[in-house]
């Protein structure tokens, strides 16, 4: 077969040229490491949920969007179950949907338009109720 028209054909035909062969390569070809395992621990300013399959807290983590509200309550309970337990994941997916509802309500509270609409609807309902009460 002629592969001359294909850029670089066979450049990595030699498996030793492939960067992930062998799959587990020791020692790693990584420059610049000046710490040992485990690295210094990050100080947490927010609540971080930990998998029960971690025997100790990993030293570094993200701090985006801590658990909050009803969805956070569900997430905390989800993390009582291991990753091996289907309930863990189903509860997290359910919490995600609850979080969306909470997010929509939160956005609504912050939106001037939504607040105005809510005020108009409320005033209309009160007026209708008062009119129905009058003889």
């Amino acid at each position: 077969m002629n592969h001359e028209h294909i850029p670089g054909w066979g450049a990595d035909l030699d498996r030793s040229q492939r960067p992930a062969v062998p799959m587990e390569r020791r020692p790693p070809r990584l420059e610049g490491v000046h710490w040992s395992d485990p690295p210094p621990a990050q100080q947490s300013s927010v609540e971080i949920l930990k998998s029960t399959e971690h025997l100790k807290m990993p030293p570094v983590f993200g701090t985006s969007v801590p658990p909050r509200g009803v969805s956070g309550w569900i997430r905390r309970r989800a993390f009582r179950h291991s990753e091996n337990d289907l309930r863990h994941w189903l509860m997290l997916l359910f919490a995600d949907r609850v979080d969306v509802v909470e997010g929509v309500l939160s956005d609504g509270r912050r939106s001037r338009g939504a607040r105005s609409a809510a005020a108009i609807v409320g005033a209309t309902l009160v007026a209708a109720w008062l009119l129905r009460r009058s003889p």
Partner: protein, 396 residues
Amino acid sequence: MLATTYRRPYRVSARHVPDPVIEHPFDAIVRVLRSCICGSDLHLYHGLVPDTRVGSIFGHEFVGEVVDVGSGVRNLKVGDRVLVPFNIFCGTCYFCQRELYSNCHNVNPEATAVGGIYGYSHTTGGYDGGQAEYVRVPFADIGPTVIPPDIHIEDAVLLTDVVPTGYQAAEMGDIRENDTVVVFGAGPIGLLAARSAWLMGAGRVIVVDHVDYRLDFARRFAHCETVDFRSVGDMAIHIKKMTDGLGADVCIDAVGCEASGSVMQRVTGVTMKLQAGAATVLHWAINSVRKGGNVSIVGVYGPTFNAVPIGNAINKGLTLRMNQASVKRHLPRLIEHIQAGRLNPREIITHRVPLEEVSDAYEMFSGKKDQCIKTVLIPPGADVAASTTAAPITTP
């Protein structure tokens, strides 16, 4: 700063949020110059990844300029232009000591089955992502790579995920000279997997998809044969007819959990979520590969379970390999390939969009509109900052 924040399934918006800060002595803060929307971001966008919290900042493919470093950072300085692998890794744990950086055990409290990834839910560590103006980069001494001066910024941003993942997909297939390689999926990862298969000496490369413009693009970009799965009755039979009845030597899943092609899989995997996504491509790959062949999986699936024909895999004596790409270990060789002209990843970029219009960009990419293959996001002011190598902004 402006950032892409998740609001609800099928809805993200560019919103102003607080700037990131140094949280650990080994952190850096990077001003983003370019970021991309990845196909796997669509799984988040569609609400399929557990623990995706409203307000999370998406984005795991980005390059930028270092603007601040923690007290313990020695190898990186303010002003360096870096490409940042999508994996967050410590460099010293059991797995990093084996160059399995995507499996790092020290960076994700929320799960043990996956390491840390920028902007990809709390299941991957709860890190904010790079579809923003600024991002916190942990382990800045080992994660980021300074962009060589002869590497285009758009090639650099594709080196953070797309190119290494496509390359590793081919590498895990253990391709030998003149092997027949079938790549399922003509998205960015599938395209780079096909190109990488040629680098490893494949004899035939066949890309399978159902989107016409992507199949056209695959033929041009990856010099491959293509199959539109809508036009074939049974995928396994079709591949066997193309390979003297034996099946392909290597099959690569570059699609993942939202595959089309089977109504039953879509209903049970995507609509009803009775399994962790549609396992259509896993079926096709296992049943289309030859006995003793290799199946390589880089498509993303959820953390629960999928119904796959594991009995066929056993009886055929298959080797199944899969992982998130360990980007850092691939970079030196992939940079060489780009410098030598053997790979030209930025040709897959079809859209360059201001970050302010990210909502429209997601809608376009998700809907495969406007012949979209790959979208690059440009934060406010970053076009000027990167002007020596920047391509003009094109909006959808």
